[in-house]
Symmetry: D2
Subunit: 237 residues, 4 copies
């Protein structure tokens, strides 16, 4: 049975990983889904409700500070008195595969907006809330970040995407070191599984990722994981 | 209720991590504990039995190929028809902290015997058995390796210990790439938690490690983790 | 004797590393120094001229695309017919050491502007020029990037600085893979030496860095280095 | 003109990298070449002598402690009063590419003998000599280690080779941290260039590696490099 006094939030709920994480965390908490368009979360909100869970979709662009602020105001009204147990930053944008000299500066900007900048805003909103939950949340309050192979390897033609993902990982490492000792578990997952879609071969991968995210959230603070890789058994690495 | 048709084996069962892993896996499988001395496993075998589990202790030095072969002969007799679901290599030895010019060659040998050489023997015995379980084991057959900070960082005065741990990690990576596509999950855990003892501050850390090992074992093959770090929230890194 | 048909350019010439690199490369090429303020390069331009070298200082903020474009127009006029042999991106800005919840979004922006964004502009201007020099430059045309410990480790309280430096490294890796096969040598140096100043203990470190940058530039294309660390022998790591 | 009061030693002089390093260091020092068979060094000793240099070949298996001890006794007689300026460990052996379950334990042993064990003996003999040279050698006394891609990546089917190379890197890191502050420069080079032979495509790569080794040796102690990668510009990475 889900605790109503704590909730989870997922930014970037429109992707397969975001959807799977929402379903998994909804078994324990009301979940808030942030996405740029209602189409991205409507189905999954319905699915969670039909399974007896509680889910709220909020339209917000993770790279727009004001929209994110407004989202947290909405949460206060919709879930009065509820505290934050887990926050997942799962925003993927700014993906370009092209020769460097054909890249536009806007493409780099899009990657940096979606990764370090969007996460910065999300983390500044959620970390104070997670700190407030340290004493009484059912599991250590958690901030989980979705990374990719491009978080640790700058491949040819993927420079702008990797720039954002590397920067996101830097922030995650730094926050893990600063907030871990305060009882908030910050962890970063390197997903190595090709294109992430809600259908097709990504489906079981996403369920597997969601189970690992849940495991990260439930780790006792005597045994925190900062970084984990997740890939299908057939993926070459 | 534990499945009797599959068992788990833990080499290096005498340490806190080994004991905690044995207790955790015993909730699902009969467990075989390998250690150099009966004192290392007697208590834990009793504890598991009193909890309704099934545990077998076998005296064997992981660095002695004949002793390891004999251990697997014993297992065949003690658990007839049972198949291997999970194997954990948790042997720690060869730890020396001293100036390099004071190190004896025997100290390097001890580290290499306990880490890459002992693991090599263990992996050559267990991987064929794990492959046989791919089609019907309750979770993907798993080979889990206990590493340490010294697996990824060669600190001053810890050269011989790090040499063994680096080499062990190399084998783990290689086997993950070779056996993952065949359905066997090989993973390596970097434990960053200081001295590992069954008592004192290590106690909850070890339970946390054991939970994460169990999670690794239960990961669906669509979402395997090859490497994970585990440390107490207060540990500086 | 310096070749006049090829020149080198250093962005971020005001720091100790930038000055030392300018002096070293001026032994072989005319050097162009970019810095935000004339005070940052006036002395070093004079010093190079007095040693019989050729140096041009241009005021330009590396994060301002128009200013960088204007700088390259100036170079065309000042060094007509001269081709680019080496480009060094040595811009350091956006350094903040503070608790994450006290960071302003502007501080993250400053780090991203100075590191990935400024480098992106610099690389898009210099790579086409470096490609033109592949067939006839005295050494493989080179793009060298100054990194820091924060390029590979996100320490507590250094998140925004590390975000920029990680992203810069991602771009460097990606460009090395894309442009190396075309004959342009892209390399990244991790400087681990504390605060970089033109005076005091940084002085000999900077000369050493400059020698290593020159070595990177002169590496034959059969033996390119992509990444190198440089630190004083007393630095703990 | 070569200094006769200091010499360099290269263990594993029979490979292309060893030969190229010998020729490069012979421009500055008498060089001692260790190899298992005289055929491995006879030509190169002649070549160095014909160029006006001084070279001594000694037959010794790097994995045989007694043979290495005897080699250093020979050096004392052949180069009386000469001090050690640079030592290069370039031994490659134990290379096997095969499925793990077909590997013999002897193949792992060969890799560990050639890499960590042979280097351990070499380092214990050379580090005391290098320490004696700190005050007066022309460049910081240096211990340089030849690694490979397998030093940082455990690929499928390369487990035993990677185990040795990982362990060698661990020792190198540890010694850099211990002996750097004492003025001895320990560095590790990751060579990413396929099969290393004295002929064919490896030829220019080896000359390039030798130049980089010489640069490492001549780095001022204010700017030591611990690790460097070296690869042909066409190599995919």
């Amino acid at each position: 049975m889900a605790s109503k006094s704590f909730y989870a939030i997922i930014s970037g709920a429109g992707s397969g990983t975001g959807r799977a994480a929402a379903v998994r965390f909804a078994k324990a908490y009301p979940v808030v889904l942030l996405a740029r368009k209602p189409e991205s979360y409507n189905d999954i909100v319905d699915e969670i409700k039909q399974s007896g869970g509680l889910a709220i979709g909020i339209t917000a662009d993770a790279t727009d500070e004001n929209a994110v602020n407004a989202a947290f105001e909405t949460i206060k009204k919709e879930l009065p008195g509820s505290k934050l147990a887990a926050a997942i930053y799962n925003v993927n944008a700014g993906f370009s595969r092209k020769p460097f000299l054909e890249l536009k500066r806007e493409e780099l900007d899009a990657s940096l907006d979606a990764a370090p900048k969007g996460f910065f805003t999300f983390a500044q909103k959620t970390l104070p809330l997670l700190l407030e939950s340290v004493t009484d949340s059912p599991h250590p309050p958690s901030l989980i970040i979705t990374g990719a192979t491009a978080s640790v390897k700058g491949s040819a033609l993927f420079g702008s995407f990797a720039a954002g993902k590397f920067a996101l990982r830097a922030l995650g490492q730094s926050l893990a070191r600063e907030f871990g000792p305060k009882g908030v578990h910050v962890s970063h997952a390197i997903i190595d599984g090709g294109i992430d879609t809600p259908w097709g071969k990504g489906y079981t991968l996403n369920n597997g990722i969601a189970e690992t995210y849940w495991h990260l959230h439930t780790q006792h603070r005597s045994a925190f994981t900062q970084e984990v890789d997740i890939r299908p058994y057939v993926e070459k690495f």
